[in-house]
Symmetry: C2
């Protein structure tokens, strides 16, 4: 610990501004221009029991969107950023598509971050109607992104990879889940490439975290991250966005 | 050795990304021993619409407790920490006292963090019955802390200073609020000294933040922090705790 303090002092001399640490949130992603509106979209992982009223209390939900907004809101007050959460529990990509005009385009965001796919996977595995197959997932997601770029020229897109860990109901049907979610991860990566979006890889981050603590420490039911799990999502998002727009 | 490794990682990061920043959360407060149980207690600022069921979703509420738990839970998985939130909206110190056995002592915490006082101030200023005057506040708070130390030998106490900013309903009665809350801040500081607790000064942090953005950016109604405001509480808590138990 003393080493860290000494190191911090060294850095203070070297870098003037103080010290940083591996695994924390980067300072100032290049996409956060003055007045930027940052929209988080998705399912329950994004929703996080967010407020539905104009009351600013609890408005960002209880998850990675809140962690990111709190951090950047606190450290970049002069950027006048607005963070918006419109995740809705249970949503599949088809649900996003149906409410996209009202819950995305009309909000005029500069950054659109999407995390979707796990309910789509569940709809196939658990044979819930209407099932969104990987093919349908790709087609609708592709349309959604094309529509977004057409309506919002210059928008920055962030696509978060859906992820799972073998816990609870997901563990029970692990073979089906891992094959289906893997297919959707590949789709999301492909769409990110096609649409010039930043891809946030999350599966690898969670797999790696399982070397430090059991799967249920990070994702309590195989799908929904715990609070340390949400920190993984937030840090992965920040690092991916930072490096994607900052360039080599 | 750990410090050296971390220092090396820090330098590597600095070299690659070219940035660093002061004001983030410290690494590893000395109070977080292996298996530590960390209890957050207080009013609505702590409550943050936390879950009331055993469901681990949203269990820590939407605020500084969540930010701290997510951060330390992610970065110290090998410490097996448990974070517990038992804040209840509207609570005064007398309400904490009434439910202290069940909602604090019975949980066998190793760290007890308390943020209370603003509803006590409101009860006097808005003449709500039963009003908790500063004198009553000190007496009951003192008993609460004595009771805690007697029941939980070796417990680490963290007392968070109540805070306000001149916004909305607080601004309307600013003179009364600032005088009353100031008195309670002095009481909390006195009790921290008396009971060997770590004091988290928050008023100064919020006052200083107002040099960077308007008061309502940090506290939307004069009492409840926004998400950047919760980050201020979290970082102040982490820094105070870190320096208090780490020693000079």
């Amino acid at each position: 610990m003393k080493g860290v303090i000494r190191c911090g002092m060294t850095l203070a001399i070297l870098a003037v501004v103080g010290w940083a640490r591996a695994g924390d949130l980067p300072d100032e992603p290049a996409i956060f221009r003055d007045g930027a509106r940052v929209l988080f979209q998705g399912d329950s992982i994004t929703d996080g029991n967010r407020g539905r009223s104009p009351d600013p209390n609890h408005i960002l939900g209880h998850g990675y969107a809140f962690i990111l907004a709190a951090h950047y809101g606190r450290h970049l007050p002069d950027h006048h950023l607005t963070f918006i959460n419109r995740g809705i529990s249970g949503n599949k990509v088809t649900d996003l598509k149906a409410r996209w005009q009202k819950d995305a385009l009309d909000l005029k965001p500069d950054v659109v971050s999407i995390l979707v796919g796990i309910n789509d996977a569940g709809s196939v595995i658990r044979q819930r109607d209407p099932a969104v197959t990987p093919g349908e997932f790709e087609r609708v997601y592709d349309e959604l992104l094309a529509e977004t770029k057409a309506a919002l020229p210059g928008v920055r897109l962030v696509l978060c990879e859906p992820f799972i860990l073998p816990v609870g109901p997901v563990k029970e049907k692990w073979e089906a889940y891992s094959a289906d979610v893997k297919a959707r991860q590949e789709i999301v990566a492909r769409l990110a490439g096609k649409h010039g979006a930043c891809l946030v890889r999350l599966q690898e981050a969670f797999d790696k975290a399982c070397e430090e603590a059991p799967a249920e420490y990070w994702i309590w039911d195989g799908v929904h991250p715990t609070y340390p799990g949400h920190q993984i999502v937030a840090e992965s998002w920040a690092r991916a966005v930072d490096s994607f727009w900052r360039g080599p």
